[in-house]
């Protein structure tokens, strides 16, 4: 035991001499997490990060068998699910982890909103976080099509068609994204390139920035805790908080394995561009509230198409979300901002209700 430690300290000394590792140790020792009644929400970012790491690992494994073409994609996924050892497991974990990651990212977003962690000096952390959520949803949208099954094919047809409703640039954007006027094999290769290369690259950059800023600025203490006299105490990040993180991650891994085993990802029928759309075409659940909103809009609002109004509304909402730190400045000055809390809660209720309606109020005939 002692020899291992000696050998390790020898390696450490060798590296330290060249790389000045003492800085790392200093960072690890200095990083602290405030302890108060809202501390539990600090775990959501780390949880999202863990699920993203799972996505990278399982995604790389899926690449070994996946073939990105309209002729081969469905069959390669079928082969992966039926023949490849544990292929079903890795694909199911990839699918479940994607959903859980977006779920925890949404929780993270709303907890940061309600705890006002976006206020000065963390505006850039907030903006990078909102952009990361956008990237996560883009990952979801592009990944959904890759198995080239019927549901995904028509959901993508509808999704890209909705994009065409954006005035002026919409049809142009949709054509570039689809690689043509319709969802086809060209769309599949484009989505593949975006899913496995473009989005990971952008995410690496933004995630690096996000984590660097979290490290640099430390954890935000919610204003109401500060008003009550500050945090009760502090916890060392290393190892105390990290070990708690680990407990959460191991639990998440166990849940993922159970979900993958009991509810494996479906494949369904192969996409056929010349077959009628089946009933029950729906997007992934995190797009459902937007999709359902568009359904309730009339075909025409004033002289605009209803869809165009809806999609512009959501683009405006995304922009407002992005610049929240510059709109809600009361909490930055240490003043309470009740109204803002109610707006956030209203948004959460809206998303939950519309998502529920999307599944419950599906027209049957």
């Amino acid at each position: 035991m002692a020899t291992i430690k000696q050998r390790f300290s020898g390696v450490w000394a060798w590296l330290d001499e060249r790389l000045d590792l003492a800085v790392l140790r200093e960072i690890a020792e200095k990083k602290e997490v405030p302890v108060h009644r809202h501390t539990v929400w600090y775990y959501l970012g780390g949880m999202t990060l863990f699920l993203y790491v799972i996505q990278i690992a399982t995604g790389i494994l899926l690449l070994f068998y996946y073939r990105p073409s309209a002729e081969d994609a469905y069959e390669s996924v079928q082969f992966l699910m039926a023949e490849v050892h544990f292929g079903w497991l890795f694909r199911s974990i990839h699918a479940w982890s994607a959903n859980l990651m977006i779920f925890t990212a949404f929780l993270h977003l709303f907890s940061v909103l309600l705890l006002r962690a976006y206020r000065k000096p963390r505006e850039i952390t907030w903006i990078s976080g909102v952009l990361l959520l956008g990237l996560a949803m883009a990952f979801g949208f592009t990944g959904y099509l890759l198995p080239w099954n019927e549901l995904a094919y028509f959901a993508t047809r509808v999704g890209t068609q909705i994009m065409e409703a954006v005035p002026l640039i919409g049809p142009y954007m949709a054509t570039v994204l689809r690689g043509g006027d319709d969802v086809s094999g060209a769309t599949l290769t484009r989505f593949y390139a975006i899913h496995v290369a473009v989005l990971p690259m952008l995410t690496t950059f933004l995630l690096g920035l996000h984590l660097f800023l979290v490290q640099k600025l430390g954890m935000s203490i919610p204003p109401d805790v500060e008003r009550e006299g500050g945090a009760k105490g502090k916890m060392n990040f290393f190892p105390n908080f990290l070990l708690r993180d680990l407990v959460g991650w191991l639990t998440a891994l166990a849940i993922l394995a159970a979900l993958a085993a009991y509810f494996p990802a479906h494949l369904g029928a192969k996409a056929d561009p010349f077959a009628p759309a089946p009933a029950g075409i729906r997007p992934e659940w995190y797009f459902m509230f937007m999709f359902q909103t568009l359904k309730y809009l009339p075909a025409h609002i004033l002289w605009f198409e209803g869809e165009a109004v809806g999609i512009l509304g959501f683009m405006l909402a995304a922009l407002i979300l992005l610049i929240v730190p510059f709109l809600e400045r009361r909490s930055g000055r240490g003043e309470p901002s009740r109204l803002f809390s109610w707006i956030v809660i209203g948004v959460i209720v809206y998303i939950v209700v519309l998502t529920y309606l999307g599944y419950a109020a599906e027209p049957m005939a």
């Binding site: 028509f154 047809r157 509808v158 068609q161 909705i162 054509t175 570039v176 689809r178 690689g179 043509g180 319709d182 060209a186 561009p273 010349f274 077959a275 009628p276 759309a277 089946p278 009933a279 029950g280 075409i281 359904k295 075909a299 025409h300 198409e305 027209p363 005939a365």
Partner: protein, 156 residues
Amino acid sequence: MERDAVSERAAGPRQSRRGFVNWLLGTSVGGLLLAVLYPVTRYLIPPETAESTAATVTLSIRPEDVAPNSAQIFRFGNQPGILVRTPAGELRAFSASCTHLSCIVQYRDDLGRLWCACHNGHFDLNGRVVQGPPPSPLETFVVNVRGDQIVVSRDA
């Protein structure tokens, strides 16, 4: 360094020479960016595929294969069409792409209508919207039966 700056400022022609060099560098960088971005942008825009200009298509379906009150999907160039035989026995053809969000419609023999499953849009057998979100009627094609061949053509 500072002395350089001072002497630059003192000497007028030198100043303009530096300005010229800066302009040259600036435009070169700009030109380089354009030379990279233009091909990349054009590369990402898909090439125009020759759109099916065929105004007429002869189907591989024979008239007697389509029973009354049923329908079949066919290819009109690279677009899907739907051939319906009405309960009265008449053949009609439409574009099968729903005018709402371009899902592919199907024939509902229980309703005698064309139906889009994506958002519950209903069309009658003239292609007109009866119910649901579609903003405009389905494109109607002209159907001609020549012997045992069905010829579908665009209304031109």
